[in-house]
Symmetry: none
């Protein structure tokens, strides 16, 4: 889940290369993708990547930085929204997370491939920082719910892990997803509205039943 880095506008060609790179890296991984592959896919000269981004590595950083203000603004907004109850905030987060991640499956896949490795420390830590911040926001909400006695005394960090982890599991592999939900072959779950609603519904049910005291249900 990301926010577009507001304001900054990239040239059409740069943006075009960036999008091609996101797709390619998602499919083959960063090391598995060659600049020549990328140039061919984006239909540009091999020298363009270095011309625009300086290096393959910097292209990668640009991708992450350009897209990865991971939910930050939205999360803060939800947390600060006084019209929402605690469980309402959880619901809002679920809706936003699911929508955001499903809308950028390739970028999401890149991010998680990176997280699974232990290379490129600087980038790695940048991504982690975003996760940690998001987790803290969620924890605040949950702890407030606990103090208000509308939530049970749950494990905030692992609750976050359950929430994101469920979505990630669905995003792992399109073909896995397709097989699991037993739909027809050319079905694309990530762009399917019904599937998105199904995931949201499931997550809300899980969270409601887990978080809420009996009386509140």
């Amino acid at each position: 889940m990301l926010q577009e880095s507001s304001g900054q506008v990239l040239s059409d060609k740069k943006e075009h290369i960036l999008n091609a790179a996101i797709e390619l890296f998602a499919e083959k991984g960063f090391e598995g993708s060659s600049i020549r592959d990328l140039a061919a896919r984006a239909e540009v000269n091999v020298a363009m990547v270095n011309y625009y981004f300086g290096s393959k590595e910097k292209l990668f950083e640009t991708i992450v930085e350009h897209r990865a203000t991971f939910m930050r603004g939205k999360l803060d907004e939800i947390e600060a929204d006084t019209t929402l109850s605690e469980i309402g905030k959880i619901d809002a987060i679920i809706e936003n997370y699911v929508a955001k991640i499903l809308s950028q499956p390739s970028f999401h896949r890149i991010l998680y491939q990176e997280l699974l490795k232990e290379e490129r420390e600087a980038l790695h830590e940048n991504i982690i920082r975003i996760f940690v911040q998001n987790t803290h926001t969620l924890r605040n909400i949950i702890e407030k719910g606990i103090r208000k006695k509308v939530f049970r005394k749950v494990d905030p960090e692992l609750t976050m892990a359950t929430l994101i982890g469920t979505i990630n599991q669905v995003m792992l592999s399109k073909s896995l997803c397709v097989m699991l939900v037993e739909s027809k072959d050319n079905f694309d779950p990530y762009t399917d509205d019904a599937f998105q609603k199904r995931v949201i519904k499931h997550l809300k049910q899980v969270m409601h039943s887990y978080l809420l005291e009996q009386m509140n249900r």
Copy 2:
């Protein structure tokens, strides 16, 4: 082949290279690891990998085939165990899954890196097949619980996603995990007993509250 290979015994040296490769691939990814890196780490000759495994790619397949029994036998056993209630089976699955995955963090990481890509189709599908089979087993248990009216009418596939996804999220990055649970720097959550129990407890709570009708709690 993915489900069964525990019978085959590899020579010590092969096993040694295999273990070094698992670590290396987990850290740097398959394409990010060079055979020279691997040879250096395993302290063997660079020609050994091709000598023993034929190629780098085949080494990778060997890793998956050799280790990816992945719960299969245990799951069937749990499903067939008539002394366990449905929720008892879910608990058993959680305990086994968590223990299994936490005991092989590197191998687990390799598997998920591979799933996130869309390369090496044959291998990809092998891994998916295991996941699908496991999901089917879990679905059987859940659907039986639903028929028996001890479980609510939940979404079996996404319930599986929640279960595995929660663990995966914890496994994503050791440093992320360390930061989330706010432990000291040299703490290794994957080998820590208390942490394993914490994950198991959380998952059980989530599953209990989600699956069980009110009366059953």
Copy 3:
């Protein structure tokens, strides 16, 4: 063309690029210098070099042609000067050579780098032609001195080699020169008047003692 070009006036911008190029080529060599380096140093557009000079190679030729008048006129003038004795002409040549070369250390360095290679045949031969002509002039002077019996029967070509070679040796490397004359670090021998006089004095002494019969001293 190597002997004469002082009449031609280059535009300010061309001259500016030329000067930057001389410095850069002296520091890094022709192949070691990139047009982007040059453009950055001269603070002009990368396309300017090709725009003004046609190519990097032609820029190099322009440098040589534009600066390599190299003593020609002065040498002829000295040779023709009837007011000077033979040894007086040698002295005049030494004074002019030393002053000329020390005033253009970068250009000088470029010229010798080029001479040391066996590439760019045309340019190479142009440079050689100048040297040969200069040597012939010197030989004329020396042979006249020998005929007049004021000079010993010396080797004219190698005498020229000694004269120019001594100066070159000093010009080889500024840091070498600084270390040899054991001066302080920020001392620039090439612009130092005392150093120039020291070189001139040494060369005159060497030439006097070598050329002159005992009686003439």
Copy 4:
């Protein structure tokens, strides 16, 4: 002037590449020579250079280190030789220097191309250090001669410059050399015995007339 780095024996193939590289670098300069050129000339695979030397730069360093113990041992030996007079030591140095340099014209050319640039600081300083040491030895000899009043009060550093500079001037360009001594085209001065003797004779005469007090001649 160099001494073979005694003791260390390189493999035939390494030595073969090294020799090809010396020739090539001498002709085209370091940056002007490509690894493909070198591989073609040495008739080896392009990967061999990196296999044996690590990199093109390290190959260059190896060349210098392997050959460039610039006269050191011989100079010390000559300085310490009590059977030689001061002027006898100068003569011995001239003979050795000329022979040594003329025997390795390509390597010599590489060394001076490097000195003329201001790049590769470490290597540059290494070469300079050798020059400085040699100069110091020569200075010791000259100063001893001055103290003994067999030499005039000359400028030791510049005397060294004259000695080496004369040889260098001859080594600058084979074609220049050929034209200067007006020999036929296919004449190779560097391997010609008569030419070597001519250079030695000239240098001895120059040094004798410059260094020696009148009475000593």
